[in-house]
């Protein structure tokens, strides 16, 4: 099988664009990624489009209606918060399989404000606040409290994740926010679901990101190898059965399974990873994934955040983009925005937030329900 390379990748600055359509927002990222590669839509042999809010709305085709209806196959993908990563992976798989030499993956989302989740079925009465909570801040608070139960993780340690990621975002002009949030500000922000305060919840934003993937032959033929990023591993898992599944969505097992498979596919270990963009949909979630991804031993995540190992300049910087907490989390775009962030570091083009000497990076997303997507990327030599 051929190797597959990212030869163009970009994202728009995340924000709120109520006056624009989903295809318009997606088209902007597609243009940016095409420009990054120096190619045009006429060069693309297929489009893989990730979007959740208009999953039945043929968003990929409508993006082509904005930028060029070339008649190529379009696959529209929906996989909760793993939507973007899944679209990227399908694009990658088509190149790996030898179907195409040049494809584009686009992730795009337009979000409302406010709480996600909860409410439940339409039959009978609402269960929210009657049988606990199904809101996302609560679901992930409970996942964090499971960690607190097992390892004594504190509210302060969870809050430090948010301090770190908001600090990182001050160096990322494409993040929704560039605001420092000291520890007392995070801990004293409005409590949403203990232990997640408002500043420990990801930001609902509009956004898009896109990537151009090429076969090795095509990348060389077009002279695109100098900035190309090799996809060393692409893994997608769903959630294996767990005892508490019915009331507690499990984000741990599917991540562990995906990480193990990704390291095996890449022939690498966690010690080889120079930076990670992982799914910090809530501050509580980030802590879990240090262990799930093997960045530390089980029970060591609290120490990792305390000692700054996951901050820029630390042993393995996590979410130097600002993460979902501060860069923002446009569901369908997030997975590809992560690919953009890691690629930008591997290319040495991340400016003030550059992870020095970054050679190999990892991206991780979780779609609750559940799907876990992991990619390991390496600068092509």
């Amino acid at each position: 099988m051929t190797d597959a390379y990212v030869v163009g990748v970009d994202m728009i600055k995340f924000g709120r664009f109520p006056d624009r359509t989903v295809p318009q927002i997606g088209a902007e990222a597609a243009h940016l990624a095409l420009d990054d590669s120096g190619l045009t839509i006429q060069d693309m042999e297929a489009l893989y489009c990730g979007n959740l809010g208009q999953a039945s709305g043929m968003v990929g085709q409508r993006i082509l209606q904005e930028i060029g209806q070339t008649g190529i196959p379009v696959v529209n993908v929906s996989n909760a918060c793993a939507t973007g990563a899944t679209a990227f992976r399908e694009a990658w798989a088509s190149v790996k399989a030898g179907l195409y030499d040049l494809v584009i993956a686009v992730g795009v989302e337009q979000m409302g404000k406010g709480l996600l989740g909860g409410a439940g079925g339409s039959k009978g009465i609402s269960k929210e606040g009657l049988l606990g909570s199904g809101t996302m801040p609560s679901v992930f608070a409970e996942a964090g409290m499971e960690h607190a139960r097992n390892y004594g993780t504190t509210f302060e340690q969870f809050a430090k994740v948010s301090v770190k990621n908001h600090h990182h975002s001050t160096m990322n002009p494409k993040a929704m926010y560039q605001i420092e949030t000291p520890l007392d500000t995070v801990m004293n922000a409005e409590m949403i679901s203990y232990p997640n305060t408002k500043l420990m919840c990801s930001v609902n934003v509009d956004g898009s990101a896109a990537a151009i993937i090429a076969s090795e032959k095509k990348a060389k033929e077009l002279g695109l190898m100098s900035r190309a990023i090799k996809v060393r591993a692409s893994v997608l898992t769903s959630d294996p059965w767990q005892e508490r599944d019915l009331v507690m969505p499990d984000v741990n097992t599917c991540t562990r399974k995906a990480a193990a498979a990704a390291y095996e596919m890449a022939g690498l270990g966690a010690e080889d990873i120079d930076l990670v963009e992982l799914h910090d949909c809530f501050a509580t979630a980030e802590i879990l994934h240090y262990e799930n991804l093997g960045l530390c031993e089980d029970g060591e995540a609290g120490r990792m955040i305390d000692e700054g190992e996951v901050a820029l300049g630390g042993k393995v910087p996590v979410n130097v983009s600002g993460g979902l907490l501060s860069k923002g989390h446009p569901l369908g775009a997030t997975g590809i925005a992560n690919i953009y962030e890691v690629s930008t570091h591997l290319r040495g083009e991340a400016g003030q937030r550059q992870v020095e000497g970054a050679r190999i990076g990892m991206t991780h997303v979780i779609g609750l329900g559940s799907a876990c997507g992991i990619h390991i990327l390496e600068k092509a030599s």
Binding site: L115, A119, I125, S126, S133, P137, R149, S193, Y194, P195
Partner: protein, 149 residues
């Protein structure tokens, strides 16, 4: 005798969830479905086991009315009309099965809540919530097992 008004109003409360059973004579209880092949326990009627994949091996089991607190969150922001704060609790039932519900009769403060604390499942009106036809519902709650009911 009921008048035939076309309404589906019930005199007795309806169960808030389908795994809550209200016998005509006897106390309400929670019902699980247990795979006789691998012993995985599920809430709600089902034919196949998602743990081992066996088909048609499900048997009903009555879940215990006691258990221990596994994890929780304290909800301060919810949807409009829902009283906050409250404790959203995940409870491992004695003998198997894990369910989620509100933990009541405990202050919604982290220092008042202990992992592993024993709780009882108690049944009560569903906080006054009614459906479109005006039916009342019976739901379940958790409370510390040393609390007077």
């Amino acid at each position: 005798m009921d008048l035939d008004t076309g309404e589906t109003m019930s005199d007795n409360p309806l169960p808030a969830v389908d795994y809550l059973k209200i016998p005509e004579d006897g106390d309400p209880y929670l019902e699980g479905y247990k795979c006789s092949s691998c012993e995985a326990i599920f809430l709600g009627e089902r034919a196949n086991c998602s743990k081992c994949g066996e088909r048609d091996q499900m048997e009903t089991v009555t879940l215990a009315n006691s258990g221990t607190l596994y994890a929780y969150s304290i909800v301060h922001r919810s949807f409009p009309g829902i009283d906050v704060p409250y404790i959203s609790a995940i409870v491992d039932l004695e003998g198997g099965g894990t369910i989620k519900g509100n933990l009541i009769n405990v202050d919604p403060e982290p220092e008042k809540i202990e992992f592993g604390m024993p709780v009882d499942v108690v049944y009560d009106d569903a906080l006054g919530r009614k459906d479109g036809e005006g039916n009342s519902y019976l739901s379940y709650f958790f409370q510390p097992s040393n609390a007077a009911s």
